[in-house]
């Protein structure tokens, strides 16, 4: 909501906006919130919203309906929250339009049987305060667990995700109500640029995009560099498949990124910022552009911010579909209208970046941390995490896991805690095989190493990397050779193709792994993979090439026996590699219903009605649809 208030010039203006935001956050009428980020929408949030609005209008009910971002419990989307003044907020999960209507009609009653959890109070990580939803007393709903008691949320420390799922991302006032833009005010009015850089250095914050470079050191380099104008870039080209942390922030709390960038601009002496968002995130682009307009209208962007004479402007640039553009120098080339070919470093972007000028590129999550560090100080921040990895990290916990979710935990949390407690373990009672981190640049950590405390150094020692935060859980139905092949397929396509080692190396690595997955591998192939992997890592120009062998080398390190099984025994224990599995129908269990015949992609199933069916092996494409379809467990794989 763009208010008609005048520009924010001083602390009084900010406090007034804060009061307006408070009224929006905790209104005097019941408020209904629907999680409407991309995840929620994909799960059906739009229909739920429509149903709620209809119900409210029909009954002329005095309720406010609002959208919110992703609180992180993706497997429960669409999420519907009811906030009644004087009562804790109650969440409902997996809501369908019909149920939504009933919930709305029942207000002020709580449908306890359907509810997920309640939020009796609200932690504001930005200023460390605790807000009670209900003013007079800290209410409770009998029989309903509080958010903080749920295993999913108990271990989390939501700093970057502080507002996601709590505020309406389209409301600047709500952002201010939770302390937003106060850090900017402090930074511009009370600190010098040098002090800010020093503070970021002291905090120990490391780049959250994956490389983990000390942010303060980068800021110092850009500050010291010669050349005008300087540029600030936010890297929102989150390309790792399986990772959507940045999207959560961009869609759920866009102003946190803007505030961080403006502070950074002031600290480094830059006046122009660019947010490079991948084009596959249209909602993030829209929300970000809207947030920028709001900030401009309020004088938080543009000329003379907070009456200090500091100017800063931000614009959004869309990516065009290239994973390699997440690499800093390739990203710069893309903004310059060229192909995203990474450049040799040195020179580094800090000295010679966009248009040859000093440029600071940081990831979305890094920028979102900045207002908190400025507000609460580096001492507070550096107490969180481990010795060399300070603060928290946002992870997208996906794959074969009960609670697919967007989580934020202090560095040093163990994988076991993340997978089994926060994630709720593996569905269908299967065993956990490994966790993959770092996307195509990372590796797999096997289940017997889950005592590993997650931080930058421990992950690289284990043969993986932190990466941007994608964490993919794999059960025993996953074939590690297949995973290596999958990532290599990805990389050979996404490689910019310029340097020989990366372009040809990824193709040849894939060729060898494919051969192994088809049962045509030789034992010498394992040594070949090591040699070639070494070459690609040592000889490639950029990070993509240098880390391309990681998936193969790490699976080889921990799951060598699986590779050998494919080679020696021509067997795929996880039943994934098509050339090594056969589908058959059990004539005893099959009752001839024919459901599989319809769905067979190779038209390979024959049989008369009500008589056992047979799969013609020559036609079978091994797609496994019959296995999915059969209600009688009559399809066997070996």
């Amino acid at each position: 909501m763009i208010s008609t208030a005048p520009r924010l010039l001083n602390l009084d203006d900010l406090h007034q906006a804060m009061r307006q935001g408070r009224d929006l956050l905790y209104p005097s009428q019941p408020k209904i919130m629907v999680g409407a980020a991309t995840c929620g929408l994909a799960a059906g949030a739009e229909e739920v919203l429509a149903a709620v609005r209809e119900e409210v209008e029909k009954g002329k009910l005095p309720f406010i309906v609002a959208e919110t971002g992703c609180i992180g419990w993706c497997s429960q989307e669409p999420l519907l929250d009811i906030c009644i003044p004087g009562r804790p907020r109650v969440s409902y999960g997996r809501v369908k339009p019909g149920r939504a209507r009933e919930i709305v009609r029942a207000i002020p009653e709580v449908k306890r049987d359907w509810a997920l959890a309640m939020m009796p109070g609200d932690e504001n990580e930005l200023n460390g305060s605790h807000v009670n939803y209900c003013v007079p007393h800290n209410g409770h709903v009998d029989g309903l667990k509080a958010y903080k008691e749920l295993p999913l949320f108990k271990h989390q420390l939501r700093i970057v995700l502080r507002n996601c799922g709590i505020i309406n991302p389209d409301s600047l006032e709500e952002y201010i109500a939770r302390g937003g833009y106060h850090s900017l005010w402090n930074a511009l009015r009370k600190h010098t640029p040098e002090e800010l850089v020093a503070e970021v250095k002291r905090s120990g914050l490391r780049g959250r995009g994956g490389a983990g470079f000390p942010t303060g050191v980068k800021w110092q380099a850009v500050r010291d560099a010669q050349g005008e104008p300087k540029y600030i870039i936010c890297n929102a080209d989150e390309g790792d498949p399986g990772a959507y942390m940045d999207r959560g922030v961009l869609e759920g709390d866009p102003h946190s990124v803007l505030e961080g960038m403006i502070i950074g601009g002031y600290a480094m002496g830059a006046h122009e910022g660019i947010i490079y968002v991948r084009e596959e995130y249209p909602l993030a682009v829209t929300r970000m552009k809207r947030a920028i307009r709001q900030a401009e209208d309020m004088g938080l962007l543009g000329q003379n911010i907070f009456d200090t004479g500091f100017n800063f402007q931000i614009r959004v640039v869309k990516g065009a579909g290239a994973f390699v553009c997440g690499e800093e120098t390739a990203l710069i080339r893309s903004i310059e209208g060229k192909v995203g070919e990474p450049q040799q470093r040195p020179p580094y972007p800090a000295q010679h970046g966009l248009w040859g000028k000093p440029t600071c590129i940081n990831n979305v999550e890094t920028w979102a941390n900045i207002p908190v560090i400025v507000q609460r100080g580096s001492d507070w921040f550096s107490q969180i995490g481990t010795e060399k990895s300070k603060g928290t990290k946002v992870f997208s916990l996906v794959g074969n896991i009960e609670n697919t979710a967007l989580i934020e935990v202090p560095m040093g949390t163990t994988l076991a805690e993340i997978v089994y407690e926060i994630g709720g373990g593996i569905p269908n009672n299967r065993a956990c095989k490994a966790v993959q981190t770092g996307g195509p640049s990372g590796g797999c950590i096997p289940a017997d190493r889950f005592d590993l405390r997650v931080d930058y150094d421990s992950l690289s020692q284990a043969g993986s990397i932190m990466g941007s935060g994608g964490m993919i859980v794999m059960d025993d139905h996953t074939c590690m050779v297949d995973i290596a092949k999958y990532f290599l397929e990805f990389l050979e396509d996404e490689s910019c193709g310029k340097c020989f080692t990366c372009r040809v190396g990824t193709q040849r690595l894939k060729e060898v792994v494919t051969r192994i997955s088809q049962g045509q591998g030789k034992e010498e192939d394992l040594e070949l993979l090591q040699d070639l992997g070494w070459l690609v890592r040592e000889g490639s120009l950029c990070g993509l090439g240098q880390t391309a062998p990681n998936p193969v080398l790490s699976t080889l390190r921990y799951f060598r026996s699986e590779y050998l099984m494919h080679i020696r025994d021509r067997r795929c224990p996880a039943h994934r590699c098509r050339e090594l599995i056969t589908f058959e129908i059990d004539p005893v269990l099959c009752n001839g219903c024919g459901a599989c015949v319809q769905i067979c992609s190779g038209k390979a199933i024959l049989g008369e009605k009500n008589k056992p069916h047979i799969i013609t092996q020559a036609q079978c494409t091994k797609c496994g649809a019959c296995l999915d379809m059969c209600k009688f467990d009559a399809v066997l794989v070996h």
């Binding site: 995840c39 997996r94 697919t404």
Partner: protein, 175 residues
């Protein structure tokens, strides 16, 4: 899809400054308008920005969001992110290719469908995921693909909001 007249692209180009940095935004605009990058349009852009056509061609073929060939009426994007792959995303892609007739070339011969793999739509919590035009379908299994594709076939009533809602409910229930 609108056929491109040589003059059509002129008003579009006028919104952009005559500089190298405009190249990708211009191509994105052309792609959004015509659903592909027609050759005459690219030659126009080369003249406007004073960039050799070879370089324009290089940029147009480098980035995945651009297509030099017309796309089908409905764009089916199947997510092949890791989370989707682990839950059978490649099987969904194959199904989509056979059910639409797009096969390996990507576009069905009746120009109704273009099927493309995409790397991560960011809905990993709901894998496997597929997008048809602006509608996202989650919690997919390959057995459901045929039903979804049929909604978009010509001669059937175009999918209404209710139908999509019904399918979304269906999917949410199938957990």
């Amino acid at each position: 899809m609108p056929e491109m007249e040589a003059q059509d692209v002129k008003p579009l180009l006028e919104q952009f400054a005559d500089e190298r940095a405009s190249l990708i935004p211009i191509l994105q605009e052309i792609q959004a308008t015509f659903s592909y990058l027609p050759e005459p349009a690219l030659r126009r852009v080369a003249r406007k920005l004073q960039i050799p056509i070879t370089e324009i061609y290089q940029v147009a073929t480098f980035y995945r969001c651009f297509s030099l060939k017309p796309r089908g009426r409905h764009l089916v994007q199947v997510c092949l992110g890791t989370a989707c792959h682990v839950r059978g995303g490649d099987l969904v892609l194959e199904r989509a290719q056979t059910e639409t007739g797009a096969g390996l070339t990507g576009t069905s011969s009746d120009m109704e469908f273009t099927v493309e793999p995409v790397r991560c739509l960011g809905c990993c919590g709901l894998a496997p995921v597929m997008r048809v035009d602006r509608d996202t379908f989650a919690h997919l299994e390959q057995t459901k693909v045929r039903g979804i594709v049929n909604r978009y076939r010509p001669r059937k009533k175009p999918a209404t909001v209710d139908k999509i809602a019904a399918s979304a409910q269906e999917h949410a229930a199938h957990d």
